[in-house]
């Protein structure tokens, strides 16, 4: 009985990891499409989202199966609940990748404008947060997960800085306004991705420590 459940948990872990890899690749491509004015690449991201949706349903079914057949308790129960919630977050990150890709298409049409702020740096930070949140799950590393929660503030700050810079540029060069609005929307999506990575890390902390730390309950 318990061996079956443990095998189930291993499968679930692999499925989550591969979903995460796919999601990360999608955001990576979307950001590249934006920076390189590559509407073709953006279209690929758009098309591949169906695959993420499909996998999300598979992970959910796997979780339901584990609950229904094995009635897991303790760490196993907390893992399945965390997996269900992470699955949701990963799917939402996939949607945000599509948002960025659509902005990339618009941005490509808006003509060759140099990106005046550090969107790539922002993605790099968010990407590391996403990776660490999943690594913290796989390696049961609560410290790593706590680190992710702390870094969320840095990404928020970057978004605010970008917004301030963009506002100044809009006043100085009103002609760039449409392109800047597109880039601002992309930065909002990146910031949301960091939020979802934080959600995942919080779920890992719950799984490992049995403490719910959302809504500022972190000590």
């Amino acid at each position: 009985m318990s061996l079956h459940l443990q095998r189930e948990m291993e499968d679930l872990k692999k499925q989550l990891l591969s979903l995460c890899a796919l999601v990360e690749e999608q955001v990576e491509m979307a950001v590249r499409a934006l920076v390189e004015h590559d509407a073709e690449l953006a279209a690929v991201v758009d098309r591949r989202d169906a695959e993420i949706d499909h996998r999300e349903v598979e992970v959910e079914e796997e979780c339901l199966k584990a609950l229904a057949l094995y009635q897991p308790v303790a760490i196993d129960l907390r893992f399945v609940v965390a997996a269900l919630k992470m699955n949701n977050d990963l799917e939402r990150i996939g949607d945000l990748a599509v948002n960025i890709a659509r902005k990339a298409k618009t941005f490509a049409r808006q003509g060759p404008v140099e990106i005046p702020f550090d969107l790539c740096g922002m993605w790099e930070k968010s990407r590391l947060m996403l990776r660490d949140s999943i690594d913290s799950l796989v390696n049961r590393d609560a410290r790593l997960a706590h680190g992710v929660c702390v870094r969320d503030d840095e990404v928020d700050r970057m978004k605010h800085d970008i917004r301030r810079q963009a506002e100044q540029m809009m006043i100085a060069e009103p002609g760039k306004l449409p392109a800047l609005l597109t880039l601002l929307a992309a930065s909002r999506s990146l910031e949301r991705i960091a939020d979802h990575a934080t959600n995942i890390a919080e779920d890992v902390i719950y799984m490992l420590e049995g403490r719910i730390i959302r809504h500022g309950a972190i000590e």
Binding site: Q71, A74, I75, L77, R78
Partner: protein
């Protein structure tokens, strides 16, 4: 008293402090300090041989019947140390009733089974016929057995189904007005429906009694108990609300056991 050793809790109906028990030179209980609360069902869980039945049997002192048993430490039930020299075993076993793994009705009528305990504790003629009838009806109603057997009270109890027999064994305790019920795997001889009905009965009885149940069945501990004490090698590893034990146990050993990884 050692500084960090908690005093017996006034809110608890059963308290043990540093309880040790040996069968010959085999130590079956080690330093057990536990508070069992009234008004709830407490489950004792743990692998075979961990001492849960031994602990249960300390509370009405039937362990002593096996001979070669040495006990140290303290057990208080409703504030009274049950090893005090002035404790009457008869009185103790009236207060602390016990239900066993296999239903053990006596080969006499259903009616006489219910009255058997009270008869052996009182003088002949102490209760009128009417009082005895009322006692039997009330006890059988309390265990949800009355409607099924009211027309055949004079029939032999051994003809009942196992579930009915087990309910009868519980009913048999009630005329003695016990305050604690000890149950050692009370459902292991029953089918799924019988188990469910006994568990429902426990939920009703817990309002009136302190119920302590030993079970191997982890699903039953989850469903039917409010608190759970996990034992291993004669020790209490963890005692907490059942939800905590199965959702978020504090001790690694508890987690290993409840998730089926122990062994």
């Amino acid at each position: 008293m050692i500084a960090n050793e908690p005093a017996a809790s006034a809110a608890a109906s059963i308290s043990t402090r540093n309880l040790n028990l040996w069968y010959g030179d085999f130590q079956a209980l080690r330093d057990v300090s536990l508070d069992i609360k009234p008004g709830i069902v407490t489950a004792l869980v743990g692998p075979s041989g961990c001492g849960k039945t031994t602990l249960l049997r300390c509370f009405n002192r039937i362990n002593e019947r096996y001979g070669n048993v040495t006990t140290t430490g303290q057990i208080t039930i409703f504030g009274k140390n049950i090893y005090d020299p002035d404790v009457s075993l008869t009185q103790l076993r009236k207060t602390v009733g016990m239900v066993f793994q296999r239903p053990n009705p006596l080969p006499i009528s259903i009616y006489e089974n219910v009255l058997f305990g009270i008869r052996s504790h009182t003088r002949r003629g102490e209760y009128s016929r009417r009082e005895r009838d009322a006692m039997v009806e009330s006890a059988l109603r309390n265990v949800r057995l009355w409607d099924e057997v009211k027309d055949r009270l004079r029939k032999k109890a051994t003809q009942l189904t196992l579930e009915q027999q087990q309910k009868l064994c519980i009913a048999r305790l009630l005329p003695l007005k016990p305050r604690v019920m000890l149950m050692d795997e009370p459902c292991s001889a029953l089918d799924a429906e019988g188990i469910e009905r006994i568990e429902l009965l426990l939920q009703e009885l817990r309002k009136t009694y302190t119920i302590l149940i030993v079970t191997h069945n982890m699903a039953q501990a989850r469903r039917a108990s409010d608190e759970c004490a996990f034992m291993l090698l004669g020790r209490i590893v963890e005692h907490d609300k059942t939800l905590n034990v199965f959702l978020n146990p504090r001790e690694k050993e508890t987690e290993m056991y409840v998730t089926g990884r122990y062994g």
